[in-house]
Symmetry: D2
Amino acid sequence: MIIVLKNGTTQEDINKISGWLSRYDVEVCPIVGAETTILGVVGDTSSVDRTSAFLSEHVDKIIKVQEPYKRANRKMHPENTIVDIGGVKVGDNKLVVMAGPCSVEGEDQIVDIAKHIKETGAAIIRGGAWKPRSSPYSFQGLKAEGLELLNIAKAETGLPIITEITNPMHVEKFIGKVDCFQVGARNMQNFELLIELGRARIPVLLKRGFSNTLEEFLMSAEYILSGGNENVILCERGIRTNETFTRNTLDISAVPALKKLSHLPVIVDPSHASGMAWMVESLSMAAVAAGADGLMIEVHNDPKNALSDGAQSLTYEMFESTMKKLKLLAAVMEREL
Amino acid sequence: MIIVLKNGTTQEDINKISGWLSRYDVEVCPIVGAETTILGVVGDTSSVDRTSAFLSEHVDKIIKVQEPYKRANRKMHPENTIVDIGGVKVGDNKLVVMAGPCSVEGEDQIVDIAKHIKETGAAIIRGGAWKPRSSPYSFQGLKAEGLELLNIAKAETGLPIITEITNPMHVEKFIGKVDCFQVGARNMQNFELLIELGRARIPVLLKRGFSNTLEEFLMSAEYILSGGNENVILCERGIRTNETFTRNTLDISAVPALKKLSHLPVIVDPSHASGMAWMVESLSMAAVAAGADGLMIEVHNDPKNALSDGAQSLTYEMFESTMKKLKLLAAVMEREL
Amino acid sequence: MIIVLKNGTTQEDINKISGWLSRYDVEVCPIVGAETTILGVVGDTSSVDRTSAFLSEHVDKIIKVQEPYKRANRKMHPENTIVDIGGVKVGDNKLVVMAGPCSVEGEDQIVDIAKHIKETGAAIIRGGAWKPRSSPYSFQGLKAEGLELLNIAKAETGLPIITEITNPMHVEKFIGKVDCFQVGARNMQNFELLIELGRARIPVLLKRGFSNTLEEFLMSAEYILSGGNENVILCERGIRTNETFTRNTLDISAVPALKKLSHLPVIVDPSHASGMAWMVESLSMAAVAAGADGLMIEVHNDPKNALSDGAQSLTYEMFESTMKKLKLLAAVMEREL
Amino acid sequence: MIIVLKNGTTQEDINKISGWLSRYDVEVCPIVGAETTILGVVGDTSSVDRTSAFLSEHVDKIIKVQEPYKRANRKMHPENTIVDIGGVKVGDNKLVVMAGPCSVEGEDQIVDIAKHIKETGAAIIRGGAWKPRSSPYSFQGLKAEGLELLNIAKAETGLPIITEITNPMHVEKFIGKVDCFQVGARNMQNFELLIELGRARIPVLLKRGFSNTLEEFLMSAEYILSGGNENVILCERGIRTNETFTRNTLDISAVPALKKLSHLPVIVDPSHASGMAWMVESLSMAAVAAGADGLMIEVHNDPKNALSDGAQSLTYEMFESTMKKLKLLAAVMEREL
């Protein structure tokens, strides 16, 4: 931690600030320049409240040097973490494709989609049961019934299940019925939910909030990890920018960045990133070429009549075409699919 | 709703799309231009799923014409809503100042601050008991004890209480102990929480998410209103932009915009917007000059030793100076304070 | 400047980096912590290329401590700069209102508007002759003829002229015909133009680019100042954010921030910030309440038939109403108008 | 164009607005709904000033339906445009890599780099002579001398030259010395420069402004195209977002989006997008996988001592490794390299 002092700060003032810092387990090293004096603070600065010291009339600004996340940090854990979702390993050499509809709409729908995506090479079935929607008047999902239908699809195909959880009160009823929790972008900083998921021992796929930094993203992962649940998967799904042609802007750089900063697996969701089915293949290719460990893709048996997100769902034909190209690309990346 | 068709769409195609729309209670009016054909769709289009129709190979884009919020819309409710928080009317001619520390830290602290702000002209005491923090390692609030301490401060001063709620499981235990729920920026789209608050009959101050549009903000208010709770106050607290000098960027235009689009009271939080105590007075003045119905300001008896947000908390002296200037401004705005 | 080294950096490596830095007039002070070693670099670090040193395999990151702008910095020039535009002092106690149409459209129009705004209390006439437009097919301004018409309006009213310059080749022909150059948002980083204006001795009103930081804004001012032209006025006109209800988002915090960081006068343009005439009064009030030194407001004799920006231009009645309220506010701010 | 009228608009009002629109070559079709009345306006609406009509007291909002760009629009020109830069075809099946240093620094440097990149497979040499820099105190390029040195490198290797132009006054002196003009992100809306380049007959690589939409980007291309110069190449180089880990955020979706909206070739600059050399390979792969027609990559013989952008320049070894992987990927994409 670096504390930049204002011009005109005296030695006495410096002593006062150093005294204030002595409550923490840190060492203070002043560097006196012609124009600016700075204090280098070394040791465990994570407990020094960034904002309080700022208040001193002699402090110009405080700059953090160390990443605030520990358990998610690759520096503390150099080898890749591999997360096991019902037998499917995410973060390993083999690319993992999670596919399925935005919402579970009925038994025929989800079973048919599960069979199709399995044949086409997907390893995990996705489908929303509780749907967070911007409007209270939109379809909110089949809820508990949706969870049952996903389990029928699993029984038919053997595909593990990932589905979104939106309420800390639901954790109990999801256990035993899902193989991986999904936390949506709007809940990335729903800390009460993250704390509950940290207590569970089921994997969590955490989506990046649509306007959150990578540091905030990793701090949210830290909530789950520090609760004792080490099975966290990071999912980039597009951020909000000035560009409105796409639903969101896929931050493709987040893939190499997260792989460097953290040891956790990184998945990309091209469907929410673009909001347009015709663009999903291009973004899927880009994600794998950038080093992603897998993809989450919306696929629907009848997108025109989907109850939600029809515009961004692939038809079976589009999904087959995309998987075919991805297999060729996997070889170039020295990965399997 | 406007549906723009692609070039080359035939009359037969138009009939097919009109047929698809006939499942809804709407009327379709085609307008055929030389280059573009559009379909005007009138009636109750709120249930037409925007994304599904998009999928038709003949649809170029779909444009919504009506605001998706109903109960929050001034068009449906022309007169101002006035929300009563323990006897204090928000949205009326009198400006309302809510003040207090970021976190409740102890009995002496909160009682002392409550007495001071009351003398200085604030009408409501604020203070966090459950604190959502980006880091799991930061101070998380005194929780239930904090709620008790706020009630001691209320008993001493008569000031109604506003405090943040972060978990739908907590609603029961807050009832009877708070005069107004606060929903923080990170929970603006925590729909499960909003649904619970819609069932309660206590006022809710809803903060705008740091990257949410005004339409999304009003849709979140709609969740509470449509649940039957009409006591919603909107709070602008700064949005995330490319500028990093301030903690957030106060969207001052949101004040006149929200007053025009909605009948709900509008409050501004200059403390979180700026993140810097020295800037709070200027932003408070700007907010009232732009037409805000009140302010939420962080005030602390000892900001240098605050457990959170010390840098943005006003000292008593600063708060007095700010209130003095605000009183002069209130007269210019033909409002009381 | 702070250089954060990677873990595992040896004393020998530190010596190597210090050696590399010895080419500059700086002193290097290493601080060795348990987890991290940092190098404090003091002296004139402005010439140390930030990016080059970054490349060393031992450098984790480089953090700048000093502001990169010198002449624009209040630390180097504590008293306010007052800029004289044809006898009107900007940055002094008296608020300055610059008003007029987006584009000069004809003699009757500009003379009529000039007379009206003068009676209503404006001190400077604005009007575009060369208009930068997003579309090559939009009205591009009357160009040289517009400049002549502005001078007729000046002859009739005595109001000094401010008008936009978009091309370094035009500087010569503007001299003697304008009292203040205006640099538009899209040209804030048109450094070739800034360099030419630094050579001129006529005041420059520099608008902030719609996605530029305050630091970049002050660096662009620095281009003009370092060329020898000290008459620079800063103008906040809204930035681009996720909110699309307004044309731009007025960054009201920029007013107190720029007044603190710099000694240059600060003007606000509520017309471009909002893009909607009905919002201009509220934003004008907010700007003055936040400490602005003046305003630039679009006023038109017939907004419905304006050739550009009609939607955001005030009618005469609206302008009169706004000025009336501003005069009351000026008194509260202890300023004149 | 759609004009949404306010509630309570009468038939007489509609007639008045239709009358106002009769000055343009358009047809007006009213659609009267229970809650809202809209006017469909068909024909050539490009000359209807969007903002003026807005002003009518009966107009709620105006929505544009057609893209404002014509010559850049794929709808008007379905086949791909191929731009010839000194014999190198951009936009054809063969991928084009433009490589070289940020700045031309000396003869040995630029000739050595040119030889290396040619051997490695690049087709065009890039290098800055006039450098737009945020700070007036940074290295501004070798200017005219830089242009001469680029021509020496061309004479030695046969590689065509691309270099940045920042001033409309320079066009004459660049002609005959460059094979392609480059317009930087900060000048994307420097319309005076674009107009001059529209008059030249040399290809122009236009970089997207760091906060501009795709529509604005295509409108800037339209400036050049409508001036008569059809040789425009679009270059995505990252946009400014809330994420600060990378220098900019590469908008990978822009690649498929621009290929769909326009017929012009699309190039990606991963060096400026990331600002970090180690990330360039990943982003280059992503760009080609997403469908880009080529890349512009910064390569330097000695990045640690580069006068600008050292941190994002590839060493020869890194460039060779990147090109090797790109060749494998090109085969998957059914393209050559």
